[in-house]
Amino acid sequence: MNLWLILAYVLLIAAGIFLLYKAFKSGDRRFIYLAVAFYVIFPVLITLHLPIEISPEVRQLYKAVESLPDSATVLLTFDYYPSTLAETEPMSRGALHHLFRKHCRIVTMTTVPLGGPSIAERVTRNLAEEYGKVYGIDFVNLGYKANYVAVLKGMGSSIETIYPTDNSGTPLSDIPIMKDIKSYSDMDFIYVVSDNGIVDYWMSIVNAQYDIRVGTGVTAVMAPRFYAYLQAGQMTGMLGGMKGAADYEMLVNQPGTATKGMTAQSLVHLFIILSVIAGNVVFIIEKKRKRQGAKV
């Protein structure tokens, strides 16, 4: 590793410790904000390439998709708000790279009203161009319909009744890819990318009642909750947060924003751990002083 790089990172760490000390002394939390800003900006400017250990649940999802026959039909959902794009868009991109490479037929949809259809449109068309995929033949965007519980249940019997047209208003009967996709039973896999509790209903309504495998990419806030479904076998693999997205990017050999973000992630985590430990050390010292003061 470059000596100047090491020196730069040492100075950065020293700056963080100094700002932490200033925050302690003055009680002004803006010093903490400044330190966090440094620890995010600097690694984005000068990225360290750190080895990433792939999580078992990410490998499980990758293997499940890899084992699908070419030209399999996959439902890919964009169940996330624009607020979590940094975590979820790399997951969607990774999924699309993987599925397009395997020549899977992709049906995209969303249960999120604020931005879901626009994000699905932008991300899918962007990558489809790269792989020379044709809308209506290789992939379709069904868009959004309200009340996700009814949508998830309704697609089990008739997709066309819930979605009479695709997102742009073309009747499904006029779209070649949808000619033989009428319900979940005509699909091979469901790949849910989500930032909210809809995943619970993909498990309880779709996986349980229609016996179709469901793999997920979820934000880190949601991830700990879904280990229960993983262990029960209801969920086939899971990408958890930016780390999960970075793991998947490595597996599909398309390093992107998630992989680049891991250095900044590392530094800020270490800073937060340091500030928690420092805060507690001061807390314990002050507690002992108060006790000694009380005895006297």
Partner: protein, 221 residues
């Protein structure tokens, strides 16, 4: 009648779904009308109108504030202008111009991708600063439970980053694996399972109460 009719509607609407669970959709079809998927599509249509209620509310509240020239009325006016700037071009047929409608290249699409989405991402990105500040100021080992929470949080934060994994492996090779197995897939998974089971039983009980008309709070006063 004002209470009885909605209760009957709720029961019938729910009963169709229970029937659909046990009976195949094809056997409950009247010509072009398949009972289960049609009822579900009706629900999605009504659900769509519900989303518009919020928009009407926002317009009313902000309009009244601007009319009365309340404090900060200029900002409320900006909100109103933004609502109409987004809504009006979206409902005009895009046959008149590609700027109208909701497709790629429309005003609606542009405002979403270049203003709304980045601002939403930024609002949530600010939480990173707040969580760092909260961890520094409030996260204290006051008792056994808090210590347990703190130690687990620190271990998980280290485990999830490449630098942290290297540090943990330098102490012992198996530590990251043990964290994954016994914390995430062990204790955490068990607790989440308990919560899922409890919440699911509660939801099932509440659903039965709604269908039988015992629970009526959703109707309001």
């Amino acid at each position: 009648m004002k209470t009885t009719v909605p209760i009957i509607i709720a029961f019938l609407s729910g009963f169709v779904m229970i029937l659909a669970f046990f009976v195949s959709p094809e056997s409950v079809t009247f010509g072009n009308f398949e009972l289960e998927p049609e009822v579900l599509s009706w629900v999605t249509i009504v659900g769509g109108f519900t989303l518009l209620l919020g928009v009407v509310s926002i317009v009313r509240v902000n309009y009244n504030a601007v009319k009365r020239r309340n404090d900060g009325w200029v900002y409320k006016l900006a909100t109103l202008i933004s609502v109409f700037a987004m809504a009006i071009p979206a409902v005009i047929p895009n046959g008149l111009s590609p700027l109208f409608g909701t497709g790629p290249g429309s005003i609606y699409d542009w405002l979403f991708n270049y203003l709304d989405a980045p601002m939403m991402s930024t609002m949530f990105a600010m939480l990173a600063f707040y969580i760092a500040s909260a961890a520094f100021r409030a996260f204290r080992t006051r008792n056994t439970e808090a210590t347990l929470l703190l130690v687990t949080a620190v271990l998980v934060m280290l485990w999830r980053i490449p630098m942290g994994e290297i540090m943990l492996k330098s102490i012992h090779e198996s530590i990251p694996g043990l964290i994954n197995t016994y914390i995430m897939n062990g204790a955490n998974m068990a607790v989440q399972r308990g919560i899922i089971i409890g919440a699911a039983l509660g939801a099932a009980a509440m659903s039965l109460r709604i269908m039988l008309g015992i629970e009526r709070t959703y109707m309001g006063k």
